[in-house]
């Protein structure tokens, strides 16, 4: 982390960048927040550890409008989102100085809480320099431990790899954290009957509180004005109506990001109700892979997206009926 801070100071000092976009230490052991730093002395609050899960790519849409370059810290998976935003002309590559930061898997405080660990005072083992594979957690109810892997975000278990897809320089090492196939869960859903599938999603989506965190955090949801925010649209973005509204919102969103979603996992990370929203997107990704050939959104900035590119080999629309 010190290397990152030093580099940030240099870049600010020599005028390469006007600001640094990273994370600021929180007031609990696990709650750093995305933050801008404009002066070297502000970097005393800079932090980069296992709890810096937030994908900062989307903040670059606004930062691209500011004067001067922004040094932005991107983890390997975040760079797919950044590439996709370049492709969609939503960020200005020239306004970003991308420092690709190392990643050893990001932590999910909810997973730690799920293990019954509460009253957390101190967490050891979340720094990038920590080699131990166990978190030592000091709580007001006694000392606890938790395997690092058991506290990782879902997306880290299906990590896309240690490579950054776009960067100006790299700082820090990454670990291989993948221990599952990202389509395993989708494949399981595919074996369900339509009734079982409906029941599964109904149960999950019934928890939705229409906070729109999934949409607002999503780098693929970059419409200047979302249709759900329109006052002229009959469907409100905030009405919580279990019978229909939530399902429509999530299904429309999944369709809208299909082929553009990089599977960054932010939607599931931010959902206050723990809805596995990534499953919708992964189903689309899996289908696209099967019907149009393997495609990873954000892996590059030049390839044509399968759903916006016509070829003679494309699947016929009747495939929908055939597949059921």
């Amino acid at each position: 982390m010190q290397e990152l801070v030093n580099r940030a100071k240099e870049l600010l000092a020599d005028g390469t960048v006007a600001r640094v976009l990273g994370w600021k230490a929180g007031d609990l052991p696990y709650n750093p927040e995305p933050a801008y730093f404009e002066k070297a002395e502000e970097l005393v609050d800079f932090v980069y550890n296992g709890f810096c899960g937030a994908n900062l790519s989307k903040y670059m849409i606004e930062a691209s409008k500011l004067e001067g370059k922004t040094m932005v810290c991107l983890k390997p998976c975040d760079t797919y989102s950044f590439n996709q935003l370049i492709k969609e002309h939503r960020v200005d590559r020239d306004k970003a100085y991308i420092v690709g930061v190392g990643c050893k898997g990001k932590l999910d405080i909810e997973k730690i809480r799920k293990q019954g660990i509460k009253g957390i005072e101190l967490i050891q083992g979340a720094e990038l320099t920590d080699e131990a594979d166990t978190l030592k957690i000091q709580t007001i109810y006694g000392d606890k431990t938790c395997a690092y892997a058991d506290a990782m975000l879902e997306r880290c278990h299906v990590c896309k790899g240690k490579e950054h897809m776009v960067y100006d320089e790299l700082i820090g090492d990454s670990n291989e954290t993948k221990d599952a196939d990202r389509f395993d869960e989708v494949a399981k859903l595919e074996t369900m009957s339509p009734e079982e599938k409906f029941a599964f999603f109904q149960k999950e989506l019934s928890k939705c509180i229409r906070c729109n965190a999934c949409r607002n955090v999503c780098p693929a949801c970059s419409c200047r004005k979302c249709v759900f925010d329109s006052t002229k649209f009959d469907s409100s973005q905030k009405a919580n109506v279990d019978s229909f509204e939530e399902k429509m919102f999530h299904i429309i969103r999944a369709f809208h990001v299909a082929g553009r979603c990089t599977d960054c996992g932010e939607c599931s990370r931010v959902c206050p109700q723990g809805i596995p929203l990534h499953l919708f997107n992964r189903k689309f990704i899996k289908d696209i892979d099967e019907l149009y050939g393997e495609y990873q959104a954000g892996a590059d900035i030049t390839s044509k997206a399968p759903l916006t590119n016509y070829t003679f080999e494309d699947a016929e629309p009747s495939i929908v009926g055939k597949r059921g």
């Binding site: 609990l28 995305p34 229409r210 906070c211 905030k238 009405a239 931010v270």
Partner: protein, 343 residues
């Protein structure tokens, strides 16, 4: 004081549900929220904080107000019925109970909100002392005693027993209805539990948060502070903090048109949303900084200004736990504290 063994709680819930609707923390797809009790509901009274507060029981996130129907040339207006059925909300914590006090001051003052008032009339709150408060809690800062919720009935969990004490007439009535399952008990175990809870509270990191400078008179000083420009920047403008909050009370009124009829409903609004307070004048808060500021000014300045100094935050800490980007009211209060001297 009475007590009931935890293993008899299902019988208790069944008995309550015979004569009243019963809402309590239920686990669905991995998360605990307030829901109606049923035989197969997975009741979870061990989780300290439900994701949403119990606010929905009195002020639902969405509720119909009236429906206008058109038949030929005849137009009829059918108001939504007020709550007529008695109900019990079981398991609310002291912070959420205090949250009701905040809502009461808004909805029960003139003009009275009849939908809310009917639910308050028919609702009985069985509050639960917090057995193991967590690091995100800061209720004490707002004068809430997690060990002593002020409600209709208060219950304490001690070992394998649940101690039960009625505090109001409604509470007495409910106690009478379930008396067959309760046995008399003395106060000793509960007093010890209260002491234990108080000791834990002393050690929580947020409990000594200072609210100095936050009051109804602080309007212009706080409103014009340059600190907001720094604080709001990583805010996603989602509604998580407002929708998990036990005291956020802003709502919007909307129409849903279904051809031959129009339903007018209200739903919680969020100051974080771009259409917040958007009305015909079309001149609402235009930037996220303004909307972000509104949330904290409302809780710590505007509300106290209108309610004899009472804050409209109860320190439940849900926003601390749930904000996707780890912003929250505690950080806001601290930011003003730290920078107050310099600016």
């Amino acid at each position: 004081m009475y007590k009931i063994a935890k293993e008899n709680l299902s019988a208790l819930f069944r008995l309550i549900a015979e004569t009243r609707e019963l809402y309590l923390p239920v686990r669905t797809a991995g998360q605990t929220n307030y829901a109606a009790w049923s035989e197969d509901a997975e009741v979870d009274i061990d989780t300290l904080k439900t994701v949403k507060s119990a606010k929905d029981a009195f002020f639902p996130q969405s509720e119909g107000l009236y429906t206008v129907k058109k038949e030929g040339k005849k137009i009829s207006v059918e108001p939504e019925a007020l709550k007529e059925q008695d109900f019990v909300v079981f398991g609310m914590k002291a912070c959420d109970v205090k949250g009701l006090e905040v809502l009461d001051k808004v909805f029960l003052s003139e003009p009275v909100d009849t939908f809310y008032a009917a639910r308050r009339d028919h609702g009985t709150v069985v509050a639960m002392a917090c057995h193991e408060p967590e690091e995100t809690c800061f209720c004490k800062v707002f004068g809430v005693d997690a060990a002593n919720p002020a409600s209709d009935v208060t219950v304490w969990t001690v070992g394998e027993d649940l101690y039960w004490k009625a505090l109001t007439e409604k509470g007495e009535a409910l106690t009478e209805a379930v008396k067959g399952l309760l046995t008399s008990a003395d106060d000793a175990a509960v007093e010890a539990e209260k002491e234990t809870i108080h000791k834990i509270l002393e050690n929580l990191p947020y409990m000594n948060l200072s609210l100095e400078g936050w009051n109804g008179d602080a309007l212009s000083e706080k409103f014009d502070s340059p600190i907001w420009e720094e604080l709001y920047k990583s805010c996603l403008a989602c509604g998580t903090c407002t929708f998990v909050c036990p005291t956020c009370q802003c709502y919007d009124i909307k129409d849903y048109s279904a051809g031959d009829k129009v339903s007018r409903y209200r739903c919680w609004d969020s100051c974080m949303y771009s259409d917040f307070t958007m009305m015909a004048h079309g001149n609402n808060r235009t930037s996220q900084m303004q909307r972000f500021r509104q949330r904290f000014m409302h809780k710590l300045v505007y509300y106290p200004a209108n309610n004899d100094g009472m804050y409209s935050c109860v320190g439940c800490g849900r926003c601390v736990e749930k904000c996707p980007q780890a912003l929250n009211i505690v950080k806001v209060i601290k930011a003003f504290q730290n920078q107050g001297g310099e600016k």
